[in-house]
């Protein structure tokens, strides 16, 4: 405790300290920049440059990168830059939406299990164990197949499937945190004030786990993106995403004509995004809990 009584000094939230520590981590700062630039590029550039991912030009099939087509064209003569950027939109969106789904489910589920403990916890966490036991690809494919054929390529089943698979880890992490938090005296203090369980969970416990939740959410985004890419690769994913593009590119690779740009751009972007997100996640973890640093 330094000066306990400095009047009118701006108060810092504990999370503000974590952000400051993150900003001091150079690698994390660069990675965060890459993620931001990538996001802005995918969402703004196609509109700004009037890029068109769908119009076919049979005369310009399989053009290598040039001034007119930065990333070349694909087998139908479509501008590949437009396709890669639009694909990035879906991949990033899937990452974000599925992660939010799993944050909401995981945090509530974990907080309830951890807070009530005992038999409630036992039953709830055994269910999580059971879900873990099912191979997740099997689960995802099953959910995807439950939606009708016409919904194929529609984002909703993909979000649902990925969110349902990924919340398990979040629930475990949160539950572990809440198990220790509920023993803290401020939880008792809130209950002594007459606060009910719901209020204690939402107002006192959840804010205390948000740090660790942010970390795991950041690490979940790349996991979800790669899962979606894999689904796309299997032909079960979205219509236009990085995974879908890579899958198509692999299809046309042959020893005589190696259209390298078809493979290099989407997989390069994908790899760069995933790497950056992982570095940011690691940086966040160190920032939220400095003691955990190796």
């Amino acid at each position: 405790m330094t000066e306990p009584l400095v009047p009118h000094e701006p108060s810092r939230r504990p999370s503000a300290r974590a952000w400051r520590r993150l900003a001091q981590n150079r690698l994390a700062r660069i990675s965060l920049g890459i993620v931001l630039v990538m996001t802005l590029a995918c969402f703004l550039l196609p509109a700004l440059l009037h890029l068109d991912p769908t119009t076919t030009h049979p005369a310009f099939r399989h053009q290598p990168p040039s001034a007119a087509h930065w990333f070349g064209t694909d087998g139908l003569g479509r501008d590949y830059a437009a396709r890669v950027l639009m694909g990035g939109q879906t991949s990033l969106l899937v990452g974000l939406v599925a992660t939010l789904t799993c944050v909401v489910i995981g945090v509530l589920y974990g907080a309830v299990a951890g807070y009530y403990g005992g038999r409630v916890d036992e039953v709830m966490m055994r269910f999580v164990d059971f879900m873990y036991g099912i191979p997740y690809m099997f689960l995802v494919i099953l959910i995807m197949l439950m939606f009708s054929e016409s919904a194929r390529g529609n984002p909703v089943p993909v979000f649902v499937a990925l969110g349902l698979v990924e919340w398990l880890t979040m629930a475990r992490v949160v539950r572990g945190q809440v198990l220790t938090l509920r023993e803290r005296e401020f939880v008792l203090a809130a209950r002594l004030l007459g606060a009910g369980d719901f209020r204690v969970i939402v107002r006192h416990i959840v804010p205390n786990v948000l740090g660790i939740v942010t970390v795991y959410a950041t690490l979940t985004v790349p996991t979800v993106i790669i899962l979606e890419s894999f689904l796309s690769f299997l032909g079960l994913g979205l219509k236009l995403s990085w995974g879908q593009l890579v899958s198509e590119a692999v299809g046309v690779v042959n020893p005589l004509a190696f259209f390298w740009w078809l493979l290099a751009f989407p997989s390069g972007f994908l790899a760069l995004t995933l790497l950056s997100l992982n570095v940011v996640g690691d940086g966040l973890r160190d920032a939220v809990d400095p003691r955990g640093q190796r």
Binding site: M1, P4, L5, P7, H8, E9, S11, R12, R13, P14, S15, G117, G118, R184, E185, F186, L188, A189, A190, R191, L192, L193, G194, A195, G196, R199, R203, H204, P207, N208, L210
Partner: protein, 336 residues
């Protein structure tokens, strides 16, 4: 309040009446009786001290009164009545309206008792918003007034602080303000000064005494420190192994302890009046394992300096010892 309050004119009910309260905790080796047949009453404007060493059942008693025992604990017998309303059988929803509103509690470690992620102001207004149905602005106004009253400088600005920006003494003041915002009738203070240094301790105790007079508050002061109760409480309850061993007005207790345990506790205290004459006396041995009885001997017998045969054959009952005093000992009144 919707809870039925019987007409007080007919039979004046004490503010808090605890009768034969017995609380057990399940453990791996079976049940442990943490509180055993504890009885006392408390009136408005009175401060009652509960003294005992760690594990003597002080905190278990207060948590039982608040109805917030951990899942392993349960009340086996007894009653806790607030102005005649039995609290132990009250449905949880009504219980919550008592908690924080009519009985408030502060405890030992103000470092951990405040939520580190919420501003002091956000935590202070929680009680009034829950219980008094006031607007957020009104709740905030009351919070500032009370922070002022507990002598927190620049109260308005402190609402925006986080707990980690306050010192230990300040945090305990915030806790006190938080507890008193809904004007409770009873305040349970569980070791309120243990985590603080001595000068701050004195300030907090003084503050509690002032507030007690001002608001005609009943305070249950739980501590292991006889020095703390000596200066503040009117009556003192001494607990050992979950049971009351002595109850007496503070002055008389300190002048003439009637239970060997109380006497031994006093001898283990350093005194400023007497010149330090060698080492302080410690009580030999450890408190017993808490079990459920039936007791075939006095639970303090193994550590008692005055133990004799009668102590080992039967558990002494709590008996009247004159001038409103109670004690659990078979020795002649003149002995300890």
């Amino acid at each position: 309040m919707t809870s039925p309050t019987p007409p007080e004119a007919r039979a004046p009910q004490p503010l808090l009446a605890v009768q034969g309260l017995t609380t057990e905790f399940r453990s791996d080796e079976g049940s442990v009786r943490a509180v055993d047949s504890v009885s006392f009453t408390l009136e408005r404007g009175e401060m009652l001290g509960i003294v005992g060493e760690s594990g003597s059942g002080k905190s278990a008693t207060s948590l039982t009164i608040m109805g917030l025992l951990p899942p392993r604990g349960h009340v086996v017998a007894g009653s806790v009545a607030l102005r005649g309303t039995e609290l132990l059988t009250l449905p949880e929803a009504e219980r919550r309206r008592v908690r924080g509103r009519r009985i408030a509690m502060i405890f030992q470690d103000p470092m951990t008792a405040l939520n580190p992620y919420l501003r002091v102001g956000e935590q202070l207004v929680e009680g009034p918003l829950l219980h008094l149905g006031v607007s957020e602005r009104e709740a905030e106004r009351r919070a500032v007034a009370l922070l002022d009253r507990v002598r927190i400088p620049d109260a308005q600005a402190r609402l925006r602080s986080y707990p980690h920006e306050l010192s230990g003494g300040m945090r305990q003041r915030v806790m006190i303000a938080m507890a008193l915002l809904c004007d409770p009738e009873l305040l349970i203070a569980d070791e309120p000064t243990t985590a603080l240094d001595v000068t701050v301790q004195a300030q907090i105790l003084e503050l509690l005494a002032e507030l007690q007079r001002e608001k005609n508050l009943a305070i249950l002061l739980i501590t292991h420190d006889l020095g703390v109760v000596a200066t503040t409480c009117e009556r003192v309850l001494v607990m050992y192994a979950g049971r009351v061993v002595e109850l007496a007005p503070a002055r008389e207790l300190f002048a003439r302890p009637l239970h060997p345990y109380t006497a031994a506790l006093m001898k283990s205290l350093p005194s400023l009046d007497a010149a330090p004459a060698g080492r302080l006396e410690a009580i030999p041995g450890l408190p017993p394992q808490l079990d459920r009885g039936p007791f075939t001997a006095c639970s303090f017998a193994p550590r008692c300096a005055h133990v004799h045969d009668a102590c080992k054959v039967a558990d002494p009952p709590l008996t009247e010892a004159g001038s409103g005093r109670l004690r659990r000992c078979v020795l002649p009144l003149s002995r300890p």
